[in-house]
């Protein structure tokens, strides 16, 4: 049950033009930096990227946008990215905005083997247009479908060679639910250990959901809004 691959290039080698990818992270926190760099190097294009945000101009998914590799972004918030805005306004890029909880829960549904979820988010708004609405106990809910992604690419703090993952602090965010949702899930980790070194009680993502794992390198972990307290 050894899932270790030799770095990001090998992990993403069979990602092809036109595929749908999930990428973990919230803002620039908990991003699979190594795999994004490898995707930029490989130059695959016409990708649909499901990720909460679209990075900034020179970091995260912004790097893939700059190379025009993304056909469609599926996100809850895409501010802070001038190149994104330019491509969107010029019609080069398609964007689907989804409420953040709906985005997360559609990932979760895929990982739990459920075809759809019902959520009140978006009732009475343009998000509800064309969607099935069901009333439960007097309240309206929108039916939202589980995502169907070719690959999920996540970043964890620690992982073992069997693919069990542990995240650190708020870098967890979308990573566990996306890890569960990919047909093929790739995990890059800061620390790769042998089976038995992680406490089974502390595993966040069981290895059954993870197909490929590798130890990432040179993490920049850029901070988007460095905010400090005055002494």
């Amino acid at each position: 049950m050894n899932k270790v691959v030799n770095g990001a290039d090998e992990a993403i080698h069979d990602i092809k033009d036109g595929m749908t990818l999930m990428l973990g992270g919230f803002g620039l926190c908990g991003l699979p930096e190594n795999c994004i760099a490898a995707l930029v190097k490989k130059g695959v294009k016409d990708l649909t990227c499901i990720s909460n945000n679209a990075g900034v101009d020179d970091f995260g998914i912004g790097l893939m946008l700059k190379q025009r590799q993304v056909k469609k972004m599926v996100s809850s918030y895409v501010g802070e990215n001038a190149e994104f805005e330019r491509q969107l306004l010029s019609g080069e890029l398609e964007v689907e905005l989804i409420p953040q909880g709906t985005l997360a829960t559609r990932c979760m549904a895929a990982g739990y083997g459920m075809p759809a979820i019902f959520t009140p988010a978006g009732i009475g708004t343009e998000i509800a247009e064309g969607k099935e609405i069901r009333n439960f106990n007097g309240k309206d809910y929108l039916m939202e479908m589980a995502f169907d992604a070719d690959f999920a690419i996540v970043k964890a703090w620690k992982g073992d060679t069997m693919g069990n993952l542990v995240y650190r602090s708020t870098a967890r965010n979308f990573n566990p639910v996306m890890a569960m949702a990919g047909k093929i899930t790739i995990a890059e980790v800061e620390e790769l250990v042998e089976p038995g070194e992680l406490d089974p009680d502390h595993i966040h993502t069981p290895g059954i959901y993870v197909h490929r794992i590798f130890k990432g390198k040179d993490y920049e972990k850029r901070i988007e809004q460095r905010t400090v307290r005055k002494i």
């Binding site: 803002g27 990932c107 959520t119 995240y167 708020t170």
Partner: protein
């Protein structure tokens, strides 16, 4: 008239001991500074944290520890980390007692618009639609009128909606108002220091209910 800090201070008085609270970006974030020290309040950040603390001291920033506004933050003792699905699960399941957020417009039946202006670059709704669709106790912090001098408290919202029939209370630089159920309108609860009822009537386009003497707020 209240400044942003004043609005935050007044909203902080709505927080009760034992509350779990979600604070939106902007004025709502400032509310954290005015929670009374003797109160046990836990702040939820929807990127996956309960127990959000103040900003770190310089040198202590941790790139893995941010809030939903992507700012570096700290965690208080007793904090818990969870994934994004669980984060919105606890919001949907009404475990979060109070949600405070900003708005561009609120209507007299409690509809809120705060995510999109037609013709301008749309950045997205983030978690706002999930929060307003599920939270039972929503307070809006906003300016009473926009930069063009037009009221933001309207009979009906003109901008694309974020959620319907959801806002319970509004605190502006001029007043505290409750949103009455069943389209009953905005009920004036308190005036900001130095502000008259007439000034509030003039700044409110939606139905305004004024009953008896309206007290000046104490902050």
């Amino acid at each position: 008239m209240l400044d942003k800090q004043g609005i935050a201070k007044r909203i902080a008085k709505e927080i009760k001991d034992g509350y779990y609270v979600n604070l939106g970006i902007g004025i709502p974030t400032l509310v954290a500074n005015y929670i009374p020290e003797n109160m046990d309040v836990v702040l939820q950040s929807e990127n996956g944290l309960l127990g959000m603390g103040p900003f770190p001291f310089e040198g202590d920033e941790d790139a893995d520890t941010i809030n939903a506004g992507k700012q570096t933050i700290t965690m208080l003792p007793g904090s818990a980390i969870f994934d994004s699905a669980m984060s919105f699960g606890m919001i949907r399941a009404k475990k979060v007692n109070l949600t405070i957020l900003g708005a561009m417009e609120v209507s007299e039946n409690g509809d809120i618009a705060n995510w999109k202006i037609p013709g301008k670059m749309v950045k997205g709704m983030g978690g706002a639609m999930d929060l307003v669709a599920s939270a039972e106790n929503i307070i809006v912090a906003m300016q009473h009128v926009n930069k063009a001098g037009e009221s933001k408290l309207l009979p009906q919202c003109t901008l694309p909606l974020t959620g319907i029939n959801c806002v319970k209370k509004i605190v502006t630089e001029l007043a505290v108002l409750d949103v009455l159920p069943n389209g009953g309108g905005f009920k004036l609860i308190e005036r900001a220091p130095g502000i008259s009822v007439e000034e509030i009537i003039k700044a409110t386009a939606g139905k305004l209910v004024v009953e008896g003497d309206v007290p000046e707020m104490v902050i």
